[in-house]
Symmetry: C2
Subunit: 253 residues, 2 copies
DNA sequence: CAGTGGTCTAGACCACATG
DNA sequence: ATGTGGTCTAGACCACTGT
């Protein structure tokens, strides 16, 4: 197995014309670890080696490894537990609820929604889908339309577009409620972050039928691009949300 | 002047019934520094003492002070610049745009909006305002209604409610475009974070007139409670936003 | 040049979890 | 008792900024 050679903190060649500037050691350590997680070296929930072991393997100090792991913990890639170890973060319902599902009832606790699939199948990426997912137009994609309910009442009508490679097998069996956990465990695609653009729109016929609101009623439209931890866009999702007794929570800090 | 006594990292009395658990030294250092900023020991943009000076004053190590300052930088309380020093964060337009103003044009760069005040005056807090601001109902509040434009076109119609203490003088002279900077420099209230709840609603008569949209057109309603760095709610703001060629940006990470 | 924050190291000890 | 991450310290050196 190849040894991980890390350049030292000091520049090896001061006259070099590298445009990268200075790359701290702890970022290189982080890069190695993120890459290993992205390649599935450990499963979600599994413990990674201890700081001391990683430090020994990469020939650096425990403090440097710690700084790398602290950054990864801040990005929700990893969970650290004193006395137990460092674990690859899982997309369990609690995390989804905290990080990715921002819709909550006006009164009462946030809950994870139930889902009902309305349509699923393969299609060719139109111009918008191709642009959002970084594909060539016409590339195969999986298209999934579903309805999500909170407290037994339909709340979200959404359309999800994924690259057929590697997600095509999704069409073959029932899809679970929690998709991001499935992406990670079955397809090795770990979603790291997402960017959402929100608009208020008038309900169209399909949305109004699904959500039980009048046509033209105001709905919150959430346009999300979710990105894997290797930085590649992995999912495009448009959700129309009822907000009569729900709201979208955004923390500014 | 009182000396800042910090407890050591080890528990002074293992049999003590203190419910606080363990309070790391660096958090106590942070607490001291946050408190000094909240009390206006340094103005926004001003440099605070160097790590070495703070460490000497509080009789701790540079590394501990650094950890405190790093956390404060992560919370946007402070800006650190290599070679120059550590500065109290200012609510300049760039920061507002990044942290608090999430509305951006669908095409083109985000910009800071212009504002036009429609009404300002003193009032008694109704039940909702009192609850949001942690006041007794009937307490005096400042109420400000304004219209904000992007690219010369009205985009946001908003109502802002503030405690009359200490904000009453706002009514006496023209209010600037950037309110959070004013809160900090003139009233010593530094906004640290905010929680926004979003809904899609139908435009009412006042909103539709101000924003130039049809009555009943869908608008994005943003209900914000902004909190000062000492943790107290300082502002309640409800904004109705046009989203035909704008969107609200939410980064999930 | 001196002074600042940033990185890296090494070691000691603490808090926590598990066996 | 052992091993994990968390805190704290001390010191060396690097990168950056201003004088």
């Amino acid at each position: 197995m190849a040894v991980n050679r890390l350049t030292l903190g000091s520049r090896p060649d001061p006259a070099s014309s590298e445009p990268v500037g200075f790359r701290p050691l702890y970022r290189q350590v982080k890069e190695v670890l993120v890459d290993r997680i992205a390649r599935g070296a450990w499963r979600g929930g599994e413990a990674i080696p201890s700081e001391i072991e990683i430090a020994a393997e990469l020939a650096t100090s425990q403090g440097t490894v710690r700084k790398a792991l602290d950054e990864m913990a801040a990005e929700n890639l990893v969970v650290r537990r004193q006395g137990r170890g460092t674990f690859v973060a899982r997309h369990d319902d609690a995390r989804i609820l905290f990080q990715f599902f921002k819709l909550a009832p006006d009164e009462g606790e946030p809950r994870f929604p139930e889902s009902r699939v309305l349509r699923i199948g393969l299609a060719a990426a139109d111009e918008a889908a191709a642009r959002h997912l970084g594909l060539a137009p016409g590339t195969g994609v999986v298209e999934l339309v579903r309805e999500r309910s909170l407290g037994g009442r339909p709340a979200v009508f959404e359309r999800i577009v994924l690259p057929a490679k590697p997600f095509a097998p999704l069409c073959d069996r029932p899809v679970p409620n929690n998709l991001y956990d499935l992406y990670a465990t079955r397809f090795g695609v770990t979603i790291g972050r997402a960017r959402e653009r929100l608009k208020a729109v008038a309900a169209g016929p399909e949305e109004s039928a699904s959500l039980g609101v009048a046509p033209g009623a105001p709905l919150l439209l959430v346009d999300r691009i979710a990105t894997a931890i290797d930085g590649r866009p992995a999912e495009w999702r448009i959700s129309a949300c009822r907000t009569d007794d729900l709201h979208y929570l955004s923390d500014l800090r």
